[in-house]
Symmetry: C2
Subunit: 195 residues, 2 copies
Amino acid sequence: MLQVQSSYPSKHTFQSAERPSHEEYAAMARWLVSQNTWGVLSTISKHLNGSPFGNVLSFSDGPSDRASGQPYFYLTALDPSLTDTEEDSRCSLTIAEAALGTCGNRDPESPACAKLTLSGQMKQVEEEELDFAREALFSKHDEMQYWPKGHHFQFYKLQIEDVFLIDWFGGAQPISLDEYFRAHESGQTDVLRLK
Amino acid sequence: MLQVQSSYPSKHTFQSAERPSHEEYAAMARWLVSQNTWGVLSTISKHLNGSPFGNVLSFSDGPSDRASGQPYFYLTALDPSLTDTEEDSRCSLTIAEAALGTCGNRDPESPACAKLTLSGQMKQVEEEELDFAREALFSKHDEMQYWPKGHHFQFYKLQIEDVFLIDWFGGAQPISLDEYFRAHESGQTDVLRLK
């Protein structure tokens, strides 16, 4: 039965491999998240006494046909990111269009070469979301399933509180969580899509 | 006259486009810095009330034949990175081998796909270093020289205090600032090279 959901992740999927127009802010954000497989997680570091620290991490927001907008991670406490977020869960995931190679001759810092920062809190994935998180990550990061059991990798998610997008001249574009999670490839945000 | 310098940036250059062996830690760090043109700068954010924030920035450590290991940036106060570092200068620049496309089938999060985080303080470049900073950036980022004058871009440098490298299994490799700045392509750190 068709039901509009108010909780995240929603049932809205984003499946377009085509770059949205820069005016479709929420669709651009979702496109960057669905197309990229890695980003940098910024945390308040424990090992550097509270300095901001950045770490390269793989992520996925869903299998390629069911992108949810919700970034999942597969983390071990041997990694500084998890050590940091267990002390202070605030963090940001930064994703660059430059990593996709679709910026042409534009400089990576050019506003026209899109960049997205999702900020919020790192949370361990709960039971009911585990299957989706596992499928999301393992479908895009094949080798993860073979990572050493002894390292105790577990599934985590960035609970997004703020979306910061630059995809054109004129500064960051305001995108609400609702717009972000409801966006789909046409750039409209008010049509429900089911899995 | 040949003189060993104790200050940074040193006269040691790093010119190799070839990936060093993963056991040559300092050379690997310098290779990542010299080959990459962009990274993510992590800061303590002003607009998110102290949460860690990451921003995609272009950088350069020198013209391609005179890589210094010292990352330079061209920043405007319209950008959150500079707003943040003017409030709290602590920051980290994270650079991924994944961005170079040289990791083959290895996952971006695999320790064998190298990642580097340089942490320290953001400082405005002083008069005597301005020419080198300008040449470093403009030689690798052609369009920067045409960026709007009205945005008041200025040259900045990350004054490195800590080098965090993962380029193989077994955790981060300790690299001192001396080893980092003195490294050259053979992986040795004790032979002086002149410009």
